[in-house]
Symmetry: C2
Subunit: 71 residues, 2 copies
């Protein structure tokens, strides 16, 4: 799942990813996610902001996304 999500998004922290996707790319990713997830056990939550300017991001503490050994 990590490997898949990283093909489309930037890994932020633990099981959180971020990125800009077209509608087509998002559908493609969601399709692949559904193939490998267990829908009765796992869950995926997608927060979509139509424009980046409407989503402000603030980081406190150490940025973790360069550490590959956490997940």
């Amino acid at each position: 799942m990590l490997k898949l999500c990283r093909q489309y998004l930037n890994w932020i922290q633990n099981s959180v990813f971020e990125g800009e996707l077209t509608r087509v790319k998002l559908d493609e990713l969601l399709h692949k996610i559904k193939v490998i997830m267990k829908e009765d056990k796992d869950s995926i939550i997608i927060f979509k902001s139509r424009q980046e300017k409407w989503l402000e991001k603030e980081v406190i503490g150490r940025e973790k996304n360069n550490l590959d050994n956490i997940l």
Copy 2:
């Protein structure tokens, strides 16, 4: 940290929380977070959307936020 965040936000999944806060409440929460976090080790990422209508949420699979034993 979980206990603190839950006083202000809804717990969504693992270490992800969501909620509507006033500027004052957010500052209060961030202040308390900074007291208990280790800024050289931990990290907090805040995504802010000024209006809820600009943030769309989609859940796939099981909604986890009723399970208290995951964190």
